[in-house]
């Protein structure tokens, strides 16, 4: 406590009031005593006056008597008689005044006796005088009278003295009392002054405090106003609940959040009315009990702070239907403690996170939509899937119309309920949209600007309806809110996406239009990209085709050129070689003048080779230019075919050993001449390229479904780089580096023949020798009949 406050308290407290009261009481008491003293003084005066009056009366009586006695004039007796009559009353007066004074009473009784005696004497004197006594005769009376008088006088004087003394004492007492009283009053006055000063101080302190309190109150009021302004201004809903759960405060946002027009309306509402205004769900959409809200936990003391994210839907309790779309709120509750630390209230903060949630939903929707849009190059399917995707995130209804050659076609329509889709299709069928309409989709197509009808008034539907039946159908759609967004590619409107809200009661706002436009732009971009991609793909494909064609042509040209070159080489070189030999042999024979047997054989061999080469060239030409070597399928006995070929070869190569290990003879469908050609080629090669001193081995084996022929020769292996291309045409080599006696077409033609039979031919070549293996299916796969080589040769 400050000194000032202490001082104020002390001044205004009993410490000062009590002494002051005592002092005043004492002063008043003293004053009353003073008054008594004054009364006593006045009494003394009165006593003294009464005594004086008595004395005067006595003196007047004496004087009157004396005058009568002296003058004999009876008029003097009047004074005497008055005095004789009056003195008892005077005496009574004194007696009355001094009855509280025993001394004076005693004296008074004495005076009374004396006066009685005196007036007795006077009466006797008078009587004596009247009887004629004079002078000395009267003297005894006079003498006795004088004595009595003297005693009277003395007593009266005593009384007087006493009164005078009393008066003096009383005066002193009164003076003293006066002084004390004055002192007391001065003291009281001082104290009063002090007290007044104190009171003044206190009053000022109180004033100051009251002023301060007023300032504080004003400040608090201001703060409260500011706080209330802040609380009503902030978007978060804030409520206070007491321990029973009753709402004691709510800001405007809290009231708005749960569907009340004002905080006052919310606070006045009964709990059941509040709960009838909304339905509560958890994040997954499952209904949520009110007890799950964090305030209950906080109020029950089970949590210091609690929060939950809820989804809710406002309801119209009167019509018992949902209002608008789901909203999201993050609800937090904090305990509020009183000064003594007791939990008194819970603060609820409702943060509306619907926009965040919706933004998230939209982001993920957009991501999904973009993925969907990029997944197809067909913009019809792209837009259809977009319509499908939009329900129900963006709308209850979605329709896509595209402009196609000046006409508008409805490409897709989506709604959760297929029956509703059917309804729209029925409306479109019965009442085809007017492309020149100033409303809706045609308007957007013409303007290229998005259209938003946040809340569709019934008048609009009435105006749009062509007749009552049309209106009835339209009204069944329950359209509540609508937006139509142009799909623009390169500034040109290629279509319109229409979104509508119906049963859900949701309403579109400007930001919905912006979002939908973003989506439409994405869709348009996807369509444009798809178009560009298709164009690029077409160009690429055209280019690729062109390239393939070019490559093909070039390869064909190269092939043709190479073929021509080879062909020219063959005709120019290989065919000329035997001709050269024939020619030279003829010259030689001419020079020698003889027909030498060796020379004739040479001519024969050369002409034979020439024939063989021509036949091979024809086979090649056939296989290259006429679709392949042909075979005539007849049942043949393969072992016999081999034996015949080997006989022939043995005659040509009498010094070479050719062994044939014949397994079971087998009959298969094939071309006997062609098979013989293959055997002849393979065995001939083996004889020609194989080691001279080693036999050629030929085997035939039979399997379930095929016959296998192998031709093996010892000798140097075929170079490994040659193996993969050994069946290509014009690949020829000899072990010695000598010219092969053919065109290098033998293996190529053999392969063509085996393949024409549906068989395979392969080669292995190692240091151990070279083996060709031919597999021929026992039942040939039927093939389309192709003209035989014989036919070809014939032509």
């Amino acid at each position: 406590m400050t000194t000032k406050r202490f001082f104020e308290r002390w001044l205004s407290g009993p410490a000062l009031w009590l002494p002051l009261a005592l002092l005043l009481g004492w002063a008043i008491y003293s004053l009353s005593n003073l008054s008594n003293a004054t009364v006593s003084l006045r009494h003394t005066d009165k006593v003294r006056v009464a005594i004086e009056r008595l004395r005067s009366t006595i003196l007047a009586g004496e004087t009157g008597l004396r005058g009568y006695l002296v003058a004999g004039d009876p008029s003097f007796l009047y004074a005497y008689r008055v005095a004789a009559l009056k003195w008892p009353s005077d005496l009574d007066a004194v007696q009355a005044l001094t009855k509280d004074n025993a001394d004076q009473e005693e004296r008074l009784r004495h005076v009374t006796q004396l006066l009685n005696e005196r007036f007795q004497i006077l009466a006797e004197t008078l009587a004596a005088f009247d009887t004629g006594a004079r002078g000395d005769q009267l003297k005894p009376f006079m003498m006795r009278g004088n004595r009595v008088m003297e005693r009277t006088r003395a007593t009266v004087d005593e009384m007087e003295d006493q009164e005078a003394r009393l008066d003096l004492i009383r005066q002193e007492a009164a003076t003293r009392r006066w002084q004390v009283t004055m002192a007391l009053f001065v003291g009281a006055a001082f104290l009063s002054l002090l007290l007044l000063t104190g009171l003044q101080f206190q009053r000022r302190g109180v004033e100051a405090r009251r002023h301060q309190a007023e300032l504080v109150t004003q400040a608090i009021d201001r703060e409260r106003h500011v706080l209330q302004a802040i609380l009503s201004g902030i978007d978060d809903g804030i409520t206070l609940q007491d321990r029973s759960g009753k709402l004691v405060f709510a800001n405007a946002s809290a009231a708005r959040t749960i569907g009340f027009s004002s905080p006052e309306a919310l606070l006045a509402a009964a709990p059941e009315e509040i709960t009838s205004r909304f339905r509560l769900f958890d994040e997954t959409g499952a209904p949520l009990a009110l007890d799950s809200l964090p305030a209950r936990q906080v109020l029950s003391g089970s949590a210091k702070e609690a929060s939950i994210t809820v989804r809710y839907r406002l309801r119209d309790p009167v019509q018992d239907r949902d209002l608008g779309e789901d909203r999201w709120s993050h609800v937090r509750a904090y305990p509020l403690f009183g000064p003594d630390g007791d939990l008194i209230q819970a603060i609820n903060v409702f943060q509306d996170i619907t926009d965040d949630r919706r933004a998230n939903e939209r982001r993920s929707f957009l991501a999904q939509a973009i993925a969907e849009l990029s997944s197809s190059l067909d913009y019809h399917s792209t837009l259809s899937s977009l319509a499908r995707l939009s329900v129900p995130t963006l709308c209850d209804w979605c329709a896509v119309d595209v402009v196609d050659g000046g006409r508008t076609n409805r490409l897709a329509i989506a709604h959760v309920d297929p029956q509703k889709v059917a309804l729209v299709e029925e409306i479109d069928r019965r009442y085809p949209p007017d492309p020149d309409s100033f409303r809706g989709v045609p308007q957007v197509i013409r303007s290229g600007e998005p259209l938003l009808v946040a809340s569709i008034p019934r008048e609009m539907l009435v105006a749009a309806a062509k007749d009552q039946a049309h209106l009835d159908l339209i009204e069944r759609l329950q359209l509540a809110s609508f937006m139509a967004i142009p799909l623009k590619v390169g500034g040109k409107v290629i279509g319109v996406i229409s979104f509508a809200m119906a049963e859900s009661g949701r309403r579109y706002q400007a930001d919905d239009v912006a979002f939908a436009q973003t989506l439409a732009d994405r869709a348009a971009l996807a369509i444009e990209n798809a178009r560009l991609f298709r164009e690029a793909e077409r160009s690429r494909q055209a280019l690729a085709t062109q390239l393939v064609d070019e490559t093909h042509r070039r390869r064909e040209a190269e092939e043709a050129s190479r073929f021509a070159e080879t062909f020219i080489g063959i005709l120019g070189h290989d065919l000329r070689n035997p001709l050269n030999a024939i020619s030279m042999t003829a010259t030689l024979m001419e020079r020698k003048g003889i027909f030498d047997q060796a020379a004739v054989r040479r001519i024969q061999r050369s002409t034979g080779r020439m024939s063989s080469m021509v036949a091979q060239l024809l086979d090649l030409t056939r296989s290259r230019l006429a679709g392949g070597i042909t075979v005539e399928r007849r049942p043949i006995r393969i072992a016999q075919v081999i034996l015949d070929v080997l006989d022939e070869l043995r005659r040509s190569y009498p010094d070479r050993e050719i062994r044939f290990e014949e397994g079971d003879d087998d009959t298969l469908l094939g071309d006997q001449d062609r098979i013989a050609q293959v055997v002849s080629n393979l065995v001939g090669n083996a004889v020609e390229h194989g080691a001279d001193d080693a036999p050629v081995h030929v085997t035939l084996s039979r399997r379930e479904d095929s016959a296998t022929l192998t031709v093996h020769n010892a000798g140097r292996p075929i170079p490994t780089d040659l193996l993969p291309i050994i069946f290509d045409p014009f690949r020829r080599t000899t072990a010695r580096g000598e010219r092969a006696r053919g065109l290098g077409l033998g293996l190529f033609i053999s392969q063509q023949i085996v393949q024409a039979h549906g068989g395979t031919i392969s080669v292995t070549s190692t240091e151990a020798g070279t083996t060709f293996t031919v597999n021929l299916p026992r039942v040939m796969v039927p093939e389309a009949p192709i003209p035989s080589v014989a036919d070809t040769l014939a032509t």
Partner: protein, 123 residues
């Protein structure tokens, strides 16, 4: 044979030809003319022969199309080793238009009279 003495030192003819009938007919014909003949079936054998008995070789009848080493490679090799000037080469080929420049060419089928005449001139 009249020409035999003339080519006493350097009288051998080298025939380089992979085709056996042509090679053997030509050999028989030239031997009939009195020349000593060596044969090679490809360029590699020809160069080997030249390396071994080059002094004897009067003229080399060289085919162009041959396996292992062809006639063009033989000429290149001779040019590279500076032996082309000391070796008489005649090309015998069916593709005369592709013969190396500066070297006598006889087109197959050979006109043997011309060939023999040329050989006589040289050897």
């Amino acid at each position: 044979m009249t020409h035999g003495a003339k080519a006493a030192e350097k009288s051998t003819i080298l025939i380089v030809e992979d085709e056996v009938d042509s090679r053997e007919t030509l050999r028989e014909l030239l031997e009939l003319e009195g020349y000593k003949v060596r044969t090679a079936v490809n360029g590699r054998e020809a160069l080997d022969t030249l390396a071994a008995v080059g002094d004897e070789i009067c003229i080399m009848l060289l085919d162009l199309f041959m396996p292992v080493m062809d006639g063009w490679q033989v000429i290149d090799e001779l040019k590279a080793t500076g032996r082309l000037s000391s070796t008489q080469v005649v090309v015998i080929t069916s593709a005369s238009h592709r013969a190396p420049a500066g070297i006598p060419v006889f087109q197959k089928p050979l006109d043997l009279e011309k060939v023999i005449k040329h050989v006589h001139m040289v050897c």
